[in-house]
């Protein structure tokens, strides 16, 4: 059973806690992310969902006041271990942000950036084309890859950012509310994209949109305020299970309250 898990678990958080200075963001989170699945992380704002996924690619290192305790295992290796290079982790665990942030460069340069800094040895043109196709953007931009990334629409920019993340050939893609700044049609496109991508990649998505979580994900983790800490806003993992179970018959009352909109 354990072997099964370790083969099919790609990322594993063990008793993970993060504080910014003296303010704790979340506390004691343990969960396993299985390969080639889409895991949604839902919950009210301010409970540390974004902070959680930023632990998985060590982006919290960039915040001077952030303190991380606990472990995160990627393919069995602790990415917070002493000899681990965060730069290497980030190539293999990619990220898409809430607001599309393409570089003020051409579409081609946007995509090839990650590959270039990581000394990609293969054919760059093929990599760019493959990434754009995987992000369902190729047909719309193939005629002019020298156009600036900023000249695209919001939804296209976000798909460009997805393609850019895919170009470093990661195993995992972290998505921090990727569609919250987009219109419904663009949002739908992103959700369809996620289904196609999950065949090759593992996706962890933070979302405020519960319909999105129930439609698009295989597993759902519900993170909410720690009720035992009345004066602080500290997040804890309340429930983590198959999406169907969470949305139809959740085990915790708190989960049910949140899903039915009684708070949030």
């Amino acid at each position: 059973m354990k072997e099964e898990l370790s083969n099919s678990t790609i990322i594993s958080a063990k008793n993970l806690s993060v504080s910014y200075g003296s303010q704790e963001a979340f506390h004691g989170i343990t969960l396993d992310i299985p390969r080639n699945k889409i895991v949604a992380i839902i919950g009210p704002s301010g409970c540390g969902k974004s902070t959680l996924i930023r632990c998985f690619n060590r982006m919290n290192d960039l915040v001077p006041s952030a303190k991380v305790s606990g472990d995160v295992f990627y393919n069995g290796q602790n990415i917070y271990g002493p000899n681990v290079d965060a730069v290497q982790v980030r190539r293999q665990i990619g990220m898409v942000f809430q607001k599309p942030n393409p570089f003020p460069k051409s579409i081609y340069e946007n995509i090839s950036f990650g590959a270039k800094v990581n000394n990609y040895q293969g054919n760059m043109d093929e990599l760019v084309e493959k990434s754009l196709k995987q992000a369902a953007l190729w047909d719309e931009v193939k005629d002019d890859l020298t156009k600036s990334g900023l000249a695209l629409s919001g939804g296209q920019q976000q798909r460009l950012c997805i393609a850019r993340a895919l170009a470093t050939e990661p195993e995992v893609i972290l998505m921090d509310e990727p569609a919250s700044a987009l219109d419904p049609i663009a949002t739908l496109k992103i959700e369809e994209l996620m289904q196609e991508l999950k065949e090759q990649y593992t996706i962890i998505i933070v979302t405020h949109n519960m319909q999105q979580a129930s439609r698009a994900s295989d597993l759902t983790a519900f993170i909410s305020l720690d009720r035992t800490r009345v004066d602080d806003r500290v997040g804890v993992l309340v429930e983590y299970d198959l999406t169907e179970k969470i949305f139809i018959k959740p085990a915790e009352k708190e989960t049910e309250d949140y899903i039915s909109g009684r708070f949030g």
Binding site: N57, M59, L62, P64, V87, Q88, V89, R90, R91, Q92, G94, M95, F97, K99, N101, P102, F103, P104, K105, F113, G114, V117, N118, C161, R164, A165, T168
Partner: protein, 314 residues
């Protein structure tokens, strides 16, 4: 109903006073335009007087390579301004070689690497450097820098260095302008949104790569505006170069020789107390007008570049 008589509102006298005051304020506002007109009129009226003299030719002024206004033979051949221009540009260019990399490097360090505490220590240092008057830098040049240059070049390399030389002036000028380059570049770097840096890191780039391949290119037009402004300041600088570079107008690319800048020439004549109406009294205005046009042009270009930069980030 009792009429409210305690609130009288504003009398006609008060309303008139308002009008007078706003007229006075308007004049204050427009005064600055008057100053600009004053600069243009004073520079160019004397310049026109200068060029209407038979001893001076407009063409030879801009193309002649000899500047000897005090020569006994007063002829157009002795009024070629090119040596002053090349002297100015040589020093400005050399000073840019110092101020641009050091200023940009300081800016990158302060913007991308330094913690609040380090910034609190180093930013005042830059402000102090910026506040030291030009004449103090002039003293520093001949008291400290020139001896070192002479020791290095004459004792180690066996190359002759005149006491007044362009290199010494360029070095102190470069140091003087570092704060200008640093502060404008730093503002440009900080204007680049954090989200671009995050995107870079998330793709597995090192800090060096994020800075050099994402942040600096994104801030490039702001940084360019800083460079142009620094060059323009160097061109307009007076006391440090007058003291350190000397008053030998000659066209040379050798920084170890003495040259005279446009500003140094104007100072030289002013000390000689040339009465108005004489050819030398007017020549300083011609040179001054040339200087004004050059710096004005550069400032305008720098503003345009800066405007383009602000459009990108606002």
């Amino acid at each position: 109903m009792k009429k409210s008589s305690t609130f009288l509102g504003h009398s006609k006298k008060e309303i008139n006073r308002e009008k007078i005051i706003s007229a006075i304020l308007f004049l204050c506002g427009v005064f600055s335009v008057l100053v600009t007109i004053g600069i243009i009129v004073s520079l160019f009226s004397e310049t026109i007087g200068f060029f209407s003299r038979p001893e001076v030719s407009l063409l030879k002024f801009f193309t002649g390579t000899t500047w000897r206004p005090l020569a006994s033979k007063v002829s157009p051949d002795n009024f070629g301004v090119l040596p002053l221009i090349t002297g100015t540009l040589l020093i400005a260019f050399l000073s840019a070689i110092i101020s641009v990399p050091l200023g940009l490097g300081s800016a990158i360090f302060l913007s991308e690497y330094a913690s609040e505490r380090i910034r609190d220590i180093f930013k005042p240092v830059l402000e102090i450097l910026a506040g030291i008057p030009s004449i103090v830098y002039g003293y520093f040049a001949i008291s400290f820098i020139t001896p070192i240059i002479r020791k290095v070049f004459e004792n180690w390399f066996g190359v002759e260095v005149s006491f007044f030389n362009a290199l010494s002036a360029s070095i102190v000028l470069g140091i003087m302008i570092i704060p200008t380059v640093a502060s404008i570049s730093e503002d440009a770097l900080r204007a680049v949104p954090r989200s671009l840096r995050e995107a870079g890191y998330s793709l597995g780039a090192t800090r060096f790569e994020v800075i050099t391949k994402i942040v600096v290119p994104a801030a490039l037009s702001g940084i360019t505006a800083a460079f142009i402004l620094a060059f323009s300041r160097a061109v307009g600088e007076t006391m440090a170069v007058t003291i350190a570079a000397g008053s030998t107008p000659q066209i040379t690319l050798n920084p170890l020789k003495s040259v005279q800048t446009m500003t140094a020439f104007i100072v030289q004549v002013s000390f000689g107390d040339a009465p108005s109406g004489t050819i030398n009294g007017q020549s300083i205005f011609a040179v001054g007008a040339t200087l004004f046009v050059m710096t004005f042009g550069m400032n305008v270009i720098s503003d345009l570049v800066m405007k383009k930069f602000r459009e990108e980030y606002e």
